[in-house]
């Protein structure tokens, strides 16, 4: 358990990258990229976590209670929402590439001409 969360980050990164490298379909590639992205969540979560500490919300608990690190959570929070718009941009690029070339396999896309 002590280092499992860090190992999860490395695992997700490697597995997602494997998917990106071996992908035969651009939509598949983009989803694999989102797995690579989620490895950063695992890492940030592990860095910010404190054993036995509460969530950083002081609505019900008095201010000064030991809580987990809110800074990394803020990083993750914006990242989660911004990530999905980036994914939409990438999907739009994939759709456009298909509409222009009729191909979805990244291996079939050669040099891009204007």
């Amino acid at each position: 358990m002590t280092h499992l969360a860090y190992c999860l980050a490395a695992w997700l990164f490697a597995v997602g990258l494997y998917g990106v490298v071996t992908s035969r379909n651009m939509v598949h590639l983009i989803i694999c990229l989102s797995v690579v992205q989620s490895s950063t969540y695992a890492l940030l979560l592990a860095i910010g976590y404190r054993a036995g500490a509460a969530a950083p919300v002081f609505a019900d608990i008095p201010s000064g209670t030991p809580a987990v690190d809110p800074v990394v959570q803020a990083l993750m929070l914006t990242d989660v929402v911004v990530e999905v718009t980036i994914m939409a941009l990438l999907l739009a690029l994939a759709v456009l590439a298909y509409e222009r070339t009729g191909k979805l396999d990244p291996n079939d896309l050669g040099m891009i001409r204007g």
Binding site: C7, L17, I47, R50, V81
Partner: protein, 254 residues
Amino acid sequence: MRPLVRLGLFLVSTAVFAGIFVAALFDLHPLGHADPLSATYGDLVNSLTVPERHITDAVTAVNFDFRGFDTLGEEFIMFASVLGAALLLRKHADESAGPPIDKQQGRQITLASDAVRLLSVALVSPAVLFGIYVVTHGQVTPGGGFQGGVILASAPLLIYVSGEFHSLRRVAPRWLVEAAESIGAGGYVVIGAAGLLSANAFLHNFLPLGRPGDVFSGGSVALIDLTVGLEVAGGFILLLLVFLEEVLVLRDPI
């Protein structure tokens, strides 16, 4: 690059990465016992958020106050990528040639079943209400503009699922959604500039702080929450409309 070469390159670089990673693991602090030096900033934020900012959710305080300028950058990344997707998928002149596929012969238009339609219509107003609740209570409980905006954006989706395509167009016309997104993005900057005028610092609080735990607490953070909620909801609905546009035309039961 040939697939096999690429796979080989991946395996070699992963092996190197794994070696470095395992070496690094021995120096990492075990989970839950942070480096006392790096923990200082987070602990400082945790102890200051209620007495200094009157915000009970420390994550919201970091996002919109302590690191508010970074969030502005994030917001514009989002704005730019939504804009990019909308620009890429805009209608081309050559695209409208030929009838939509579903109007061709031998193809049935599948309508949602009554149960799905009833359930999704019934869920629209709870979704809107919950979204507004999450946006406005960001400084009190977990939530805020980012989460609430996404929940708000799920309401038009429910309208689409219920099969009321025409209502979706009426409820969320393109110009309205685009305006919401732009006002949200611009509003953040305006609030920041107001802080600049009143206190000589960008994003400085210029409103009364209120009582911790109240809806009207946190000063300008509550306002920023609203603009971010507007931008996120607008951006997601715009993405939905952009991707749906073709499918909508194609399923119009005219």
